[in-house]
Symmetry: C2
Amino acid sequence: MTASTRDALAQVPGVASERDAATRDFVFNHTMLRVKDARASLDFYTRVLGFTLVRKVDFAEAKFSLFFLVLVDDDSDIPDDDAGRKQWLARQRGVLELTHNHGTEDQDGPVYHDGNSDPRGFGHLCVSVPDVVVACARFETLGVDFQKRLTDGRMRSLAFIKDPDGYWVEIIQPTPLD
Amino acid sequence: MTASTRDALAQVPGVASERDAATRDFVFNHTMLRVKDARASLDFYTRVLGFTLVRKVDFAEAKFSLFFLVLVDDDSDIPDDDAGRKQWLARQRGVLELTHNHGTEDQDGPVYHDGNSDPRGFGHLCVSVPDVVVACARFETLGVDFQKRLTDGRMRSLAFIKDPDGYWVEIIQPTPLD
């Protein structure tokens, strides 16, 4: 049964009766996705969605690089030094970590699995926008691939676009559509 | 090359030269994972990691339920009504959405793919904690499965635990280990 009040949610099977004080200051910090072509993914997440690249860490011997991005309107409080950035990043909610294994960008076709066909698992990321109609019109102009346009299917208030690896990014707005 | 200053990061191939004003107020809202057994997953994310269940939405005809969780120390500003909760949620960073397809909990063995064996894609979630040694000792006491203990491998400052579906959850702390 849909639960939407504080009391009803507390009764959902599995939900802890109270929060363990040992989890205080825990932060759901990031989600990591592997990407085939770092340049294409950075272009998508920074230019199309407005993310800021906060750190890039290379592991030359193991042949991979990590990219940490955040989506914030004001990046002026991000420290300038790497140690400061690392600590700042670890205290943020909603960081996106992209892992690039060097050389995958030269392979033919898709390299990674989006999780939405067998074997399924991961489903999608979601970006909330002030106006989903305006945002989707801009994505069309930019040539972004859609998995589901606003006009597709029954849920007319949300869309799914695809990042360069085919990972789905849901687009919603907080308020009901007019 | 590792890039860690504002100027060096701006030069990384693919990074947009400036942020498009059209992306203002965009929020990286959530990550969605499918879970086999909602009760087991809610227990893990609320009791072990301290998440709060903010909404549960059932789709009886399509036979699935969605669970939206946040990890916040103060949940007193979460509205009590469902419409308010929905709007509040959509403005948050770092929401975890779990999708439960009804009946999967009765299947034998794992139902979903964690993304870390072929076909790879999604990698992990990450929770930042004030003290990674203390947090991992508590996880051991609670009988949580580990993918990588602090003492495994070369990276002694981070661990990976596994949620009930086997999805990896990295555990880090913001400051360097003593």
